[in-house]
Amino acid sequence: MKKIDLTIEQVKHIAKLANLPLTEKEIQLFQKQLSHVLDYFKLLQELETQKVSPTSQVTGLENVFRSDAARPSLPVESTLKNTKKTHNQFFKVASVWEK
């Protein structure tokens, strides 16, 4: 099986998807390390799993609901407590519009 070798372009693309600003040094390091780890995952190709159902909930719980009734929430002041970037009881975010 071919060895996994991520390109710099691929690493940059992943970083963009992950919204992670990386330095050039980090990109180089992750290119090596990620390729190494992804290569190890090839081991799973040994297993025939077409007829095996995937497990996402390991104790078999399904459709756990509560009644659709309003409940008290945290007061607004509490929710805003952990940032200084607020305005009129709202969180302030970076602009998404291009100038």
Binding site: F41, L44, K81, N82, F91
Partner: protein, 473 residues
């Protein structure tokens, strides 16, 4: 006479009842220990203000003085792993990016511990976000093993285990996604439980991998462990993955001897390369139990060798999703402040979930997870519990593994499969190699904590490994 800070919870409660010491004295003895040793050990990221703690302690002393009804953990000093949201206390997950975060609510487990009367003495150091098995990935400073300060205490609940082992508190909470309660318990000679997935509520506990995270704790012995479990376990409306199954009264049945117990030894956990002394110590533990009437059977868990690859696809995938919320908007600093290991896992997980790769990696790993779970289910058709080493060696030295991420990941080989299967596992001290602790796991079917506690309790009646204390403290 054992100083109050080194007593078990059971002994401390008796001591308080018999007025051998007060809660104030108990708290002071823990704080004194923290003052003396925590500069070296670094078990705590935050210690609660002394005045506040003594005020709480005085209130409990008054309650006891009036003969009022008290909770199961009244006056008992407990440390919380820093993933546990604690109202008004800094909760950093061991990470610089949220070093200023102070939650405005308690996680359900913290609420239950407080309602039982526990005194929260502080927040324990950890591998940032739970990413690690040694404690070296803390964004602040690595915790050191009280048994040998040049060695790791295990992770990611590194501070929790070190704090209990060195007498800084009487119990500590932790989380276990792939080793993180059992490994530090093993490395620090403590009793640690990884409960069944969903046995204990995850609400308010900063999530690592939501389909694997379990909420456990570290204590000095099995009785204490069962006592705390009785407080924390049980369905929570705020955690839809928490189990509606009733919680057994673990203490009621803990000293009942089993009528017939078959212990399975998974041959994949006793490979030829397993260090001789670890094998010897573990097999001796088996002998202790067979001496008490248990029988033994060799079993196979054939998909064990695929567990690490499966784990390291699923977990980083779920991590990349859970850490997406740390964007500097409602709390925390911006994303470049994440540590190296967090970035690495986010990158890995983003890749394995991305378009074109999701089926080959994440979906494939989910199917392999089913095969691994089935291995355990089939084993439990033949035996009641499994017994295996917790780690194929003694606690390693700081710096020994940190440069090779893959090497570090592979040290969880005896641990991760259990998380993939959602089964409970109890770490018990079972011996020493050159004064370094060795632990073993008792693994059971889902929701068999009651049986694990019975067997563990019996084991601790027949041995006293768990009573040993590190010389340095």
């Amino acid at each position: 006479m054992t100083p109050p800070n080194f007593l078990t919870i059971k002994e401390a409660k008796a001591g308080l009842r018999q007025k051998k010491f007060s809660v104030v004295e108990l708290i002071y003895s823990c704080l004194e220990q923290i003052r003396k040793y925590d500069k070296q050990i670094k078990a705590f990221l935050y210690v609660e203000d002394e005045k506040a703690l003594i005020a709480q302690a005085r209130k409990v002393d008054e309650k006891l003085g009036r003969g009022e009804r008290v909770g199961d953990l009244e006056g008992i000093p407990i440390a919380l792993k820093d993933l546990f949201s604690t109202e008004g206390m800094p909760t950093t997950a061991g990470a610089k990016i949220i070093s200023d975060y102070v939650p405005v609510y308690d996680s359900t487990v913290v609420k239950r511990l407080k309602e039982a009367g526990a005194i929260i003495i502080g927040k324990a150091n950890e591998d940032a976000w739970g990413h690690g098995s040694s404690g070296e990935n803390s964004d602040f400073a690595p915790t050191r093993n009280p048994w040998d300060l040049e060695r790791v205490p295990g992770g990611s609940s590194s501070g929790s285990a070190a704090a209990v082992a060195s007498g800084m508190c009487l119990a500590a909470t932790g989380t276990d996604t792939g080793s993180s309660v059992r490994l530090p318990a093993a490395f620090c000679n403590q009793t640690g439980i990884k409960p069944t997935y969903g046995r204990v509520s995850r609400y308010g506990i900063i999530a690592m991998a939501s389909s694997l995270d379990t909420i456990g704790h570290i204590t000095r012995d099995v009785y204490d462990n069962a006592l705390v479990m009785r407080v924390t376990a049980g369905r929570d409306e705020n955690d839809a993955t928490s189990s509606p199954k009733p919680v057994a009264d673990y203490l009621k049945t803990i000293d009942k001897s089993w009528k017939k117990l078959t212990i399975g030894l998974p041959e994949e956990y006793f490979p030829d390369e397993l260090e001789g002394q670890i094998r010897e110590i573990t097999l001796q533990a088996v002998e202790t139990l067979t001496g008490a009437g248990a029988s033994v059977k060799k079993i196979k868990l054939p998909h064990t060798k695929y567990a690490m690859a499966c784990y390291y696809i699923l977990v980083p995938s779920e991590i990349s999703s859970n850490l997406a919320r740390f964007d500097g908007v409602r709390y925390g600093k911006e994303r470049s402040v994440f540590g190296a290991e967090a970035k690495r896992r986010i990158m890995l997980g983003t890749y394995t979930l991305s378009a074109g790769y999701y089926d080959a990696y994440y979906k494939k790993a989910q199917r392999v997870r089913t095969l691994i779970k089935q291995d355990f289910e089939e084993a439990f058709q033949q035996v009641d519990i499994l017994l295996a080493p917790s780690y194929p060696g003694v606690p390693f030295k700081l710096g020994e593994k940190i440069d090779d991420p893959l090497q570090m990941y592979l040290s969880d080989i005896f641990m991760c499969p259990i998380n993939l299967a959602g089964m409970p596992s109890l770490n018990l001290p079972c011996g020493f190699v050159k004064n370094l602790p060795v632990g073993m796991q008792l693994i059971g079917p889902q929701f068999s904590e009651e049986l694990l506690y019975q067997v563990g309790f019996q084991y601790q009646q027949l041995t006293d490994w768990h009573k040993r204390k590190p010389v340095a403290c």
